[in-house]
Symmetry: C2
Subunit: 122 residues, 2 copies
Amino acid sequence: MANYLDQITWNDQGLVPVITQDVNTNKVLMFAWMNRQALTLTLEEKRAIYWSRSRNRLWYKGEESGNIQYVKELRIDCDHDVLLLKVEQIGAGACHTGRETCFYQQWQTGEWIIVEERSVKP
Amino acid sequence: MANYLDQITWNDQGLVPVITQDVNTNKVLMFAWMNRQALTLTLEEKRAIYWSRSRNRLWYKGEESGNIQYVKELRIDCDHDVLLLKVEQIGAGACHTGRETCFYQQWQTGEWIIVEERSVKP
C-alpha cells in the first residue's frame, strides 16, 4: 500500500505548495513549500517545517522569531498536489514584517494598499 | 509609475499562484494559477479567470459547471509572488468533484481520508 507521501504529486523539484491557515480565525497566514523530509518532520513534531527555496534548507518556522506554528490539521486537494495546513500561530503572526498574515496588501483600483498594520516591529 | 501587474513577481512561466477563499466562510476553496492576461480579465470582469496549465489556455471558472466565482477582494503577499482571491462562490462549490472545496481530504494517522461529502454529483 502506498503511503501518504507517495500519494502526493511532487513537482519536478520534489516540492509541494502549502497554504497555511489559522485554525481559529481561518485567516490565510502564508504560502510556502515542503519536500518529503519537511512534511515528515512537520507531522512528527506537530509544528510547521517548510523547505526554504531561497536558503535551500529546512526552515523550522519560528526558529528565529519564536513565532512557531503548531499543526492542528492537514488537508490535501483533489489533485493531490497542494497541501492546506491549519495551525495555531504563536506570537505576533506568520509574516516576517511583524504582521499576523503575509497577505496584508489589498488591490484597490490599480494599486496594492497596505490594509493590516504590524502587531510588532520586525 | 509601475502598475500593479509589474509589481507582481511572475515565475519563469509568467504565472503567479492564486489561493481562492470563500469571502463569507473563509474556507479555502482551491488553488490555481494566473498569468497577466488572466489577472487583468479577472479584475475587469470581477469573476475568477485562471490560467489552466493542463489545457494551456484561459480558464473561465464555471464556464462548464456554471460554478462562477465573483471576485470580492484581492490581496498579495509580502514577497509579491502569491495572490489571495476572496470570492463569492456560485453553485455547488469550487471542486470538479461536486464539493464546496478541493481540500476535502484530511491526513489521519498516515492516510488521506475524505471528510467532506459532495454537494452534488460531479
